[in-house]
């Protein structure tokens, strides 16, 4: 049993080595397929981060009139807290708002100066509301509109930003769905290409498979080395595609950062190197093994 296993592994390596050109051709195709797969994984993470960062920028602020007692504001906050759509409400008192404002403009002496000239705090207390889903802002705005404490509101930002928020919500929605379809589509292509390449490689060996049957080899003894070859393909392709992807990611990363500052692709790549490699080789090995097992079946019938 052990000798047989050893022989199967030996012939797997031998077949890979002696069919040099065929192996190289098959390998290069699998590398390409894996790089598509890898690109998909990174794309998936990128869109997620990008969407979250965009989503995070959307909010509704309710500004209260200057004479609103703090109790009323806290009451409003409590009442809003019962809405399931709301993820987070932040209460920004007038002092805090001023402090934030000063902080934001501390490099601008004219603003600091003009603030100093004002005796009263010109800023309003506000509630900053974030929803779980961009679509929910309409519901929240509606609720605010009908609320009994509406009288205290100075303004609600949603009214101003409604169109933008709605559009962003749609974009996020489409990006998620589109990304998912793209991932499925490209993964399907990668699978198909790999399967066909391995099938062709085995097709070119069909006579040998017939000879092995005639000499009295059992199916598992014939199939074994091809499965081992499939594993070798997957592992080597996994390593090489990671090596190729490294410099590409390094090069692209700074450009991507211009568009979405929250993303550092290179550091993501480096910190997830092993996970990426693990997924890739798993994908590659799985594809190699399954493809060769299916492709060889036809020739084992004699």
């Amino acid at each position: 049993m052990l000798t047989t296993l050893f022989r199967i592994i030996k012939y797997g390596f031998l077949g890979f080595w002696r069919n040099g050109w065929l192996s190289a051709a098959t390998l290069s195709i699998i590398i390409l397929a894996l790089m598509v797969f890898e690109g998909m994984m990174i794309f998936n993470v990128l869109t997620k981060i990008a969407l979250i960062s965009i989503q995070d920028k959307i909010d509704i602020s309710v500004y209260f009139k200057t004479n609103t007692p703090e109790d009323e504001i806290l009451q409003t906050k409590k009442s809003l807290g019962t809405l399931a759509e709301i993820k987070n409400i932040e209460y920004i008192p007038r002092d805090k708002a001023l402090e934030n404002f000063k902080n934001r403009h501390k490099d601008d002496p004219t603003i600091a100066q003009s603030l100093d000239e004002l005796k009263n705090n010109p800023l309003l207390a506000s509630l900053n509301i974030k929803a779980h889903n961009p679509k929910d802002y309409a519901v929240i705005a509606d609720y605010l509109n009908k609320a009994s404490f509406k009288g205290w509101f100075e303004k609600v930002t949603y009214a101003q930003n409604a169109v933008v928020i709605e559009r962003l919500g749609k974009i996020i929605d489409t990006a998620e769905k589109g990304g998912f379809i793209l991932i499925i589509f490209l993964t399907f292509i990668a699978v198909l290409i790999t399967f066909n390449t391995i099938r062709l490689a085995i097709y070119s060996n069909r006579e040998e498979i017939g000879i092995m049957r005639l000499v009295g080899a059992s199916n598992s003894f014939i199939r074994g080395p091809y499965v081992v070859e499939g594993i070798i393909y997957g592992l080597i392709a996994g390593i090489i595609s990671i090596i190729i992807a490294g410099p590409i990611v390094y090069f692209i990363s700074p450009y991507l950062k211009i568009f979405i500052p929250e993303i550092n692709l290179w550091s993501y790549f480096v910190s997830n190197l092993f996970i990426l490699f693990g997924y890739q080789s798993l994908f590659g090995v799985g594809l190699g093994v399954i493809s060769s097992s299916i492709a060889i079946r036809k020739y084992l019938r004699i």
Partner: protein
């Protein structure tokens, strides 16, 4: 005489069908039995006959030649024996195996008892001579130490010890065929089937192959040789089964090649 053996074999096999030990007794009487075997191929609902109502028995240690023109049914008999095809009608029995009923799983076991030699050599192109011969032992799960002992011996017997680590593409036709013979006999099969083994060879190499087959036969292995080489048949002066259009038309000891 042969028919009598066959009847005996049938009786014995019925009586002792449960005891595999006894089956080896039967095998001593007859190794290969073809009983009214027909093989039809259907291609686009058009039926062609490859073999029709063929009956013969081959006993251990015999050297039998199958003779006939191309398409007479020689290769069909070979294919039926190694169970590459199943008979449409009739029974093919090899040793304790009933080829009609053999399961796909058992095929390798049957084939390890048969050594096959083909006109086109059928060596594994990516393996050296040594590995090609060793492969037949490896599939049978033999130990590495056995392989290292027996493979060089077999290659020496066919005179290829110095080409042990050459690949088939580096060998001549005759050399390839000798590797194939070494591979066929390495497992000590019950029978060696040679399907036109000299078809692609020049006369000198052809005779070399025939001499090797005779030697193997002398050592106690049954040989079934399919050929249409008149000179070889006439030289051998052994049993000849003559086929024509899928029928056995003549079966005689010390047969000659007779054109009909």
């Amino acid at each position: 005489m042969r028919i009598k053996f066959q009847n005996n074999a049938n009786k014995l096999s019925k009586k002792y069908s449960r005891y595999s030990l006894k089956i080896s007794i039967i095998r001593e009487h007859s190794m290969i039995i073809f009983q009214n075997v027909s093989k039809f191929y259907k291609i686009n609902s058009h039926q062609t006959t490859a073999l029709e109502d063929a009956s013969f028995t081959i006993n251990p240690k015999e050297f039998v030649s199958l003779v006939g023109k191309s398409g007479a049914g020689k290769s069909t008999i070979v294919k039926l024996l190694i169970a590459e095809e199943k008979p449409t009608k009739g029974k093919v029995i090899f040793g304790s195996y009933d080829v009609n009923k053999i399961k796909h799983r058992e095929l390798p076991h049957l084939r390890r008892r048969i050594g096959v030699i083909f006109q086109d050599f059928r060596l594994l192109p990516n393996k050296t001579s040594f590995e090609n011969v060793a492969f037949a032992l490896e599939v049978a799960g033999r130990l590495q130490s056995d392989i290292e002992t027996f493979v060089p011996q077999a290659l020496e017997m066919v005179g290829l010890k110095d080409k042990m680590f050459n690949f088939p593409k580096e060998l001549s036709g005759g050399e390839k065929q000798r590797v194939a013979i070494a591979r066929a006999m390495i497992n000590h099969p019950d029978v060696i089937i040679a399907d036109e083994p000299t078809g692609n060879l020049d006369p000198i190499n052809a005779w070399e192959i025939i001499r090797l087959l005779l030697k193997i036969n002398e050592l106690g292995t049954t040989v079934l040789l399919a050929t249409h080489n008149k000179e070889i048949i006439n030289y051998l002066n052994r049993r000849v089964i003559n086929l024509e259009n899928g029928r056995v038309i003549r079966d005689e000891e010390n047969g000659k090649y007779i054109l009909v």
